[in-house]
């Protein structure tokens, strides 16, 4: 995937940028005047940049959303907030390093922050288990949210994970229960919740800290029910078909906004958040400040009603007009005949899974 020469589709640009940098150093060193050529090259680079990044395909966005050099949760927490006090552990089993959180301050007011943490390199990734939380991560998150509720402190969550850790330990210790409980508790937590999808929003593992009053999403982030690789494996038995699957799944911010799943898109700097992390973080900070201030003024009952109605309304259905007959309707569907003589299907792979 991403290496020193960038992602596959930005290779030419990265190559050109490298040459510009070399030329700059060379001319500085020799006090030569190469201004004209340099200017030309820089113009070409800018054109190339606009060309590539203004029409990204869903698959290119998937790659950007997973870019290891992107700012991650702890970068946002440390840069946006003051005096971060990290809190550890679920009080039952372990401290999950894939999901971090604690108390901090923004504009002098306390905030509880929570987020899934990915690493920039292999060493960091091993330390945080590649951002794949265990049940204890979700339980720690819930503990911190309950702490926030007790003092009516707003909660900010950063979502960046390809999903909950899919392994023996998670299943044994009830990862499904941990996520389900968070969904229920977050839907009625008596304090504002703001969610920012900063990179990868992977299925239930993302939603487990992703229910809130305001869901923000970076323009090159993704949010999906199943990874494009997983979808491709089901559809075409080939994970390499992931680019095709990413076109179908509608996982990019504009689609999700149209469907009412997210509330706002935060534009990334040209080329992605990793190219200008300071600018990206500043933009997120500005939006968080405004939403925290606004949501803190909404009476709690109204806030909870709005939160409930938001999720209640997300659907895509057709409703056939009900007939006016009541009670025993002549159009009532007949229950099918007893099918117990059919050979029951074994529990093989489902049509859709995740």
């Amino acid at each position: 995937m991403a290496n020193e020469s960038g992602l596959e589709f930005e290779k030419d640009l990265v190559e050109l940028e490298k040459r510009i940098e070399e030329l700059k150093q060379f001319t500085d060193h020799r006090e030569m005047n190469m201004g004209g050529e340099l200017k030309q090259m820089e113009e070409r680079a800018q054109n190339l940049r606009e060309n590539i990044y203004s029409r990204l395909t869903p698959w290119q966005i998937v790659q950007l959303s997973r870019h290891p050099k992107r700012p991650h949760t702890l970068d946002y927490i440390r840069e946006i907030f003051d005096n971060f006090k990290e809190m550890h552990g679920d009080r039952a089993f372990i401290d999950d390093r894939a999901l971090v959180g604690g108390a901090t301050w923004l504009n002098g007011k306390p905030v509880v922050v929570i987020g899934t943490q990915k690493g920039k390199d292999t060493k960091e990734n091993i330390a945080c288990n590649f951002g794949l939380p265990l049940p204890e991560g979700y339980r720690k998150a819930l503990r911190l949210m309950k702490f926030a509720e007790k003092f009516q402190i707003p909660v900010v969550t950063f979502v960046d994970t390809s999903g909950a850790y899919p392994g023996l330990e998670g299943e044994e210790r009830g990862v499904a229960e941990a996520i389900a409980r968070n969904l229920r508790e977050m839907s009625s937590l008596r304090t504002p919740i703001i969610v920012v999808v900063i990179g990868e929003g992977g299925s239930g593992g993302a939603l487990g800290i992703g229910v809130g009053d305001q869901v923000l999403m970076l323009s090159n982030a993704m949010y999906t029910v199943i990874t494009p690789e997983g979808c491709a494996a089901i559809l075409w038995k080939d994970r390499a078909e992931a680019p095709r699957a990413s076109e179908i799944l509608k996982i990019t911010a504009p689609h999700l906004k149209k469907l009412g799943v997210i509330d706002e898109i935060i534009e990334e700097p040209l080329g992605g958040a990793h190219r200008e992390p300071a600018l990206m973080i500043e933009r997120v900070r500005e939006r968080l400040s405004e939403h925290i201030q606004r949501l803190s003024k909404v009476p709690i009952k109204k806030l909870l009603d709005q939160r409930y109605q938001k999720y209640r309304g997300i659907g895509f259905l057709t409703e056939i007009a009900a007939t006016e007959t009541s009670g025993q309707s002549p159009t009532a569907p007949q229950a099918p005949a007893d099918e117990s003589t059919d050979t029951p299907a074994p529990p093989t792979s489902a049509d859709a899974e995740n």
């Binding site: 299943e171 389900a180 509608k250 996982i251 209640r312 007893d338 489902a350 049509d351």
Partner: protein, 281 residues
């Protein structure tokens, strides 16, 4: 689309029709003990194996006949709400049509009001035969409506899951959000101090397990039911872990503290009846 319109209810009397005997379907080989058994015997044992107690999967209609007193059930929407196709997902329309034909349901769920062993209950049943029992917007809507109805009428809620498919891939992110929707509705049920019993049957997985299925005040499973978050294949492929025998089966979950009890199908209606009376007394 008007999602909040007061639903109209209709009564369905679940008929027990005699099916003409088809010669080639007279017997079934039990996948558990490999015995050849007469289908009549399996049916008489409520779709369990009389030799080894293997619990065969049940369709939603069969489950309803098992649980609803006198087979009387007031269906909530009678198929009046149907899945959209938000992603225009290839092949989805065909899969829906096939599921409808196979299960005689509009989607992978049946929801309404009935009495279970004498207690009036809001009951939903998901059907594995309809796209793996997966949850899309219709299932989310049916469950949310049922719970809201239960809150108004002060009824306990029972949801029987047979949803190995989890969140329905074909509706993309909309399916994922049904996890939040159903869980939010259950939060309100909880605040209203009404009982919710979740019954997990073979198989239940993914986004269904990680939402309403694991949120019961009480959680019951049928013997040997596969109950999972990530499927065993996914775990083996991504983490390359060796998985223990009986992994993700009901007995495994009971041992690990995830279930209240495992109940034989023969005792399910009676057990539910007793538990439902706790809250109504």
């Amino acid at each position: 689309m008007d999602w909040f319109r007061k639903p109209k209810y209709m009564t369905v009397r679940v008929k027990k029709e005699k099916k003409a005997g088809i010669p080639e379907n007279l017997v079934t080989r039990c996948p558990s003990c490999a015995e050849i058994i007469f289908n009549k015997e399996i049916a008489a044992a409520l779709k369990t194996c009389p030799k080894c107690n293997h619990h065969f999967q049940m369709s939603a209609w069969e489950r309803l006949r098992l649980l609803a007193d006198n087979g009387v059930f007031i269906e909530q929407t009678s198929g009046k709400i149907q899945a959209g196709d938000p992603l225009e997902f290839p092949g989805y329309a065909d899969k829906l049509a096939k599921g409808r034909k196979k299960t005689k349901l509009q989607d992978a769920i049946l929801a309404g009001i009935c009495a279970i062993d004498g207690t009036k209950t809001a009951l939903a049943i998901t059907d594995f035969g309809f796209m793996g029992g997966s949850m899309g917007a219709v299932m989310g809507e049916e469950i949310a409506r049922l719970i809201e109805r239960a809150i108004v009428d002060r009824l306990p809620v029972v949801i029987v899951s047979a949803s190995g498919g989890g969140a329905r891939m074909q509706e993309g992110i909309i399916s994922l959000m049904q996890m939040a929707k159903t869980s939010a509705a259950l939060s309100r049920l909880d605040e209203a101090k009404l009982l919710y019993i979740s019954v997990l049957t073979d198989p239940t997985g993914g986004g269904v397990t990680a939402s309403f299925a694991m949120l019961g005040d009480l959680i019951i499973a049928e013997p040997n039911a596969l109950i999972m978050f990530a499927g065993p294949r996914v775990i083996e492929q991504t983490i390359r872990q060796h998985l223990p025998k009986r992994f993700q089966r009901a007995e495994f979950l009971l041992e690990h503290g995830m279930l209240d009890m495992i109940v034989q199908r023969q005792q399910l209606r009676e057990t539910l009846g007793q538990l439902l009376r706790i809250s109504s007394s």
